[in-house]
Every structure is written in structure tokens, then in C-alpha cells.
Point group: C2
Chain length 331, copies 2
DNA sequence: TTGTAAGCGTTATCAA
DNA sequence: TTGATAACGCTTACAA
């Protein structure tokens, strides 16, 4: 190590400075730092990983195909990694459950990541968590199912957000509000639906089962639910979909049936995905700070407070755009 | 290495089997393979990287913010990496030119990647290519500017695709076809525009400068170009935008101006991004096999034919959906 | 065809 | 507060 020679110290001292360890004389530290800068020295990550406790690698796993969600997660993840001089290895978990588990196991062993970020819905798979626990790989989960107490996690109050959006629609004068549920495999689906019902109850409105449709977070399921809901004399004046893709499906269905949004129908989504802004009118939705949340998840992982565990709550925001408006006078 | 003991050979022989080297007796190889399986052994990537020539790491760099494009690239990249037992490290190049260059330099030195994939527009930055050449990091470029001869590359004939789409619109009876150009920093912008003009010329149609609008690949720029084009008595009967986001902007503008697509206006895009299918009517566009192209780029990198260099051409496909139709009888 | 020994560049251990 | 030396788990060079 040339740096050591230039600074006139042993390589171990250079290592200490590099890792910010204490017990280094301030004069020595200064000399080493100057040498590092002069030589523009960068430690080799493979050597660090091989010898030490840290690999400077964070894994990001997802099995969620939504491009908007994934790319926002990554943006946050890359920011956090750069700040901490870590690198981000992304892997898509695919195939059957046992297959993706084997894939994960293999990764944990060959790569020795310092931590992994798990996005929904994989963050709620008990087998995945058990494997990571067994292999001693710390993890941080994004929006895990409630009551999940292991590892780190970051979350948003989906129930409160759904309540807020529903209340807002009621405030706008809507009484017949339809709801499209999310994919059954995602924990938030039930939570958002719960928030919707609570808001109705709080306003003294009945829950009309006819106005609740199943969905799976896809555009197509929103489109189908939209056609079913809207092609009827007793159609709702507003539709709240559990995510934006489905809300876009509803808007498309309305367009197809020659209903104007928001004049004839208000539509609200959830996520504030990129798609929310590439339609006209633009979609009213719940903004979920996915990038910030992922950034926070990695911060928790990198800080490594010795086995500590904990969660961070992030605030949502109701973003009103053109797709919602006051209900027409005659319902 | 327990595997060696179990198989009754030296660790060197195990290494040979692992790396698929020749000069290993078939019986020995079999014994070693059985031992590997029994012990479920996985080589440590850091150790391999430190000692050997390969790091089993591929970098994917982008400065293109389009979520659809990025996630399709990654899907292909992850497939190729998994197949070759490599891992994918993603980094977003951000900030000013010299800043992102420093970032890249730092990455090249700490991570010692076996290769990097460069997406547009970063794939056309001479300083980036020079740096990678200097550091000896092989690279593969996705859709680089024509005439680019260094490194590996994968591409699509953008000019032919733009010609084909334009010809198809002409075939549908459109005579007044508007074109929205792409971001000036992307090489394909000029190429696609060239294809458009060629198709007009070939059909004997004049190029009306009024019908060519600037754009930057964003929804907003398409929206603005759309308003300018459509809010006029001499509006075009079809608009061909250089990418889908801008085409969606045009559709939104049409919607806003109460023009029906495709009855009053045909709209075509380029890319077949996820957004193309979440509007109604769905967008006619050019399908670009980005995932396949990226997969191919990594294959080229991993194959490492000793400094060889080369390109692969991928086919495009015109995808006709609901946003285009025959021109109305009276123009 | 197989094995031995010497690194690769860093961190951990323990002694000074 | 510092340093010598032994790992870390592989691959490469060279020898057998």
C-alpha cells in the first residue's frame, strides 16, 4: 500500500483512518488523509469484503413488477448507497416460492451482503425472513404487514391514507363511492380497504357491497371493474382504486363509455405512480414517499446499531389533481 | 475447502471444476461435482474477485429517468446475469458531467467490474468511454449513436422503424402528419426524425415545417406540442411522436380539446413503454426489444472473446393498437 | 491430469 | 496510539 509508505505509517494505520476508527493520533490521521488524497487512493471492495465484516453491498429484492414503484425504490436506494459508499445489487425474485428461496440463499452465501431491502409483497414471506435470519443477513422491509416485528422496517399509514382520501371524496359530496380492492397477496390491500370502510362508517354512509370490486393492482383489473361499475344505471359518482394502475383502468373504461372525468365520475388512485401524470385529466392520488422510504430503509441497515431493530413511519400526502371534483347536484 | 476433502482431491482441482476448465479427468470431475452438491457449496465471490481476473459483477449505468425503459433494461440485465452467475450493480449517473465521471472512476476502481452496460444517452459520452478504456473496463452500449465503433453494442434500426411507422400512417390515408422530435441530447432523436422525413419523401409528400415540433421525450413537451398542433384549423390528422410519453401528452391534449382519438386524430408513439397500455385507446407504437437488447449486451460482455468487439442488431415491431385508424374521408 | 505454494488487498488479533 | 503478522477463500504460476 503506497499510501502507508507516503505517510510513513503501517498499513494498519491507514486502514484505521479509512474506517474512521478511534485511537489514531490526530497528526497521524492528518498525514494519512493527505496521502490518500494525493494518491487518489480507493480501497478495493473485494479485499475488504473478504477480510472484514462488511462487504459494502446492499441487496434490493423485489417481485413486484410495477416499473414506477421499482424505479422509485431504486432511486432512493441508490442515493442512500452512494452516501454511505455502499453499492446496490438488484435481483428480481422470480419463479415459484421454493425456487426464489433457493436463489436468495445462493445470493446470501456468494455475495455476503451487509443487508437486504425487501419490498412488498416479498417482504411478507415468512420463509424468506426465516432464511435471512438463519443466514444472519440483516434486512429492512418496505411497508410490511402490520404487526411484523422482526428486522428493520419503514412504513406509511395506509389505513389513514385511505380514510383521508375517502373522507375527501365524501366532503366533495359523493355518496355512492365505489372501491376497487388490491391484490390479495399484498398486505396493504386489506389495510386500504379497511381505511375506506372506516371513513364511510364515520360519515354514516352504508357500505354497498355492489360497489366493492376485486382487483389485482393491474390496469386490466381496474378496467374490468370500471366497466362493471359504470355500465349500470346505478353507477357510482366516484371510484377509489387501491392503486394508480387500476384507477387508470377505470378512467379508460369511463372514456370508453363516454363518461367524462371528473364531470360524470371522479376517480382517485393510490401511489402517485408516473402514470398518474400522463393521462388527462391527471389523477388524484395518495402520494407515497417510496424513494424516501427506501432511502430510510438502507440508512437503517447501514447504521447497524448492533442487532437493533426498528421502524420509521413516513407521511403520506393527498394529491388532488383533475380527476376528482364535486359530485353533480342530482345524484 | 471441505469439498476438496470430501472428493479426495486438492482445492486446485475443485477450482478447476468450478471454472469449467479442461484437463480434469472425467471421473475426478464427477466426484468433485458430487461433493459440491452434497455440501451445497457456493464459491465466495469476494475471494474470486480478489484473486482472479473476474469479479462476477456487471455494472448498469443510466442517466435516463424513464421508469419504463429502465425497468425493462434491468429485467433483461438480471436475466442475463443470473444465467451467467454474475450480479448486477446499478448506479444512476447524476449531476454535472465531471461529477458523474468522477463517480464512474471511483466505481471502476473500487468495484473492478467485469464490464458495464451503458444506456442512452450516457452511452454516447466520449469522456465516459475514454475513462472506461483507460481503466480497462469493457463496456457494451445500448442503442449508441451510429458510427460508434468502440466496445460492444446492441442496437435497433431506429430509422427503419420511424420509416415503417410513418409509411403505415400514410397507408392509412393520412397526408398531414405531424412529428414531435426527441431530446436533442439523444442520438436516436435525429435518426428517428430522419426516418420520418424519408418516408414522407418516398411517398411524395412535402415536409411541412409547421407540423414538426420540438420535444424532449417528456409528457409535458408532448402535451405542449399537441396543444400547439391541434388548436388550429389546419391541424394534422395524425401525430407521430418520437416516444410514448410525448405521444401520451398529445393524446391528453386531444382529450382536453375534445378531439376523439382515433376518430379525429391518430396518434403513434415509439418504445412501447408501460404507459402505452394504460390509456384508452391504447397507443400504437414501435416495440423496441429493450430487455432482449440489454440481455444481449451482457452476453457480449460475459463471453469476453479476448478484446473482441461487436454489435448485434435487434428487430423492431410496429404494434398497432387503438390510437391509430384510417384518416377521415374529408381531410 | 493433478498438486504445491504464492499471492490478491484488506481487516482482525495481539503484542509493543 | 501504533505495528507485525496471520487470516479471509479463492486463482494463478509453476512443478510434478
Amino acid at each position: 500500500m503506497d499510501v502507508a509508505a507516503l505517510a510513513g505509517v503501517s498499513i494498519k494505520t491507514v486502514s484505521r483512518v479509512l474506517n474512521g476508527e478511534r485511537h489514531v493520533g490526530s497528526y497521524t490521521r492528518q498525514r494519512v488523509q493527505r496521502a490518500i488524497e494525493m494518491l487518489d487512493y480507493r480501497p478495493n471492495i473485494a479485499a475488504r469484503s473478504l477480510s472484514g465484516a462488511r462487504a459494502y453491498l446492499i441487496g434490493l429484492f423485489f417481485d413486484n413488477p410495477s416499473p414506477g414503484y421499482v424505479s422509485e425504490m431504486q432511486a432512493g436506494a441508490m442515493r442512500a448507497c452512494r452516501r454511505a459508499a455502499y453499492h446496490l445489487v438488484v435481483e428480481q425474485l422470480s419463479g415459484a416460492a421454493d425456487e426464489s428461496l433457493a436463489q436468495l440463499d445462493q445470493l446470501a452465501r456468494t455475495l455476503r451482503m451487509d443487508g437486504v431491502v425487501l419490498s412488498p409483497p416479498v417482504c411478507d414471506r415468512a420463509d424468506v425472513l426465516a432464511l435471512l435470519d438463519a443466514r444472519g443477513v440483516p434486512y429492512a422491509r418496505i411497508a410490511p404487514a402490520a404487526g411484523a416485528a422482526s428486522g428493520h422496517f419503514v412504513w406509511m399509514d395506509d389505513a389513514a391514507a385511505a380514510r383521508a382520501m375517502t373522507s375527501r371524496l365524501i366532503e366533495l359530496g359523493h355518496r355512492r363511492i365505489a372501491f376497487i380492492r388490491g391484490h390479495a397477496g399484498h398486505a396493504v390491500s386489506e389495510v386500504r380497504y379497511g381505511g375506506f370502510r372506516e371513513a364511510l362508517a364515520k360519515a354514516g354512509l352504508p357500505l354497498d357491497r355492489e360497489l366493492v370490486k376485486p382487483g389485482d393492482f393491474s390496469f386490466r383489473s381496474g378496467w374490468e371493474a370500471g366497466l362493471a361499475l359504470l355500465d349500470s344505471p346505478r353507477r357510482p359518482s366516484a371510484v377509489f382504486a387501491s392503486n394508480d394502475d387500476m384507477a387508470l383502468g377505470v378512467m379508460a373504461a369511463a372514456h370508453r363509455l363516454k363518461l367524462s372525468v371528473p364531470e360524470d365520475l371522479s376517480v382517485a388512485g393510490f401511489d402517485d405512480s408516473p402514470g398518474a401524470r400522463v393521462v388527462w385529466p391527471q389523477l388524484t392520488t395518495v402520494r407515497q414517499p417510496v424513494a424516501l422510504m427506501t432511502e430510510g430503509a438502507i440508512d437503517l441497515l447501514v447504521a447497524r446499531p448492533a442487532g437493533a431493530t426498528g421502524g420509521r413511519l413516513y407521511p403520506f400526502e393527498i394529491v388532488e389533481r383533475g380527476s376528482t371534483a364535486a359530485a353533480a347536484a342530482a345524484p
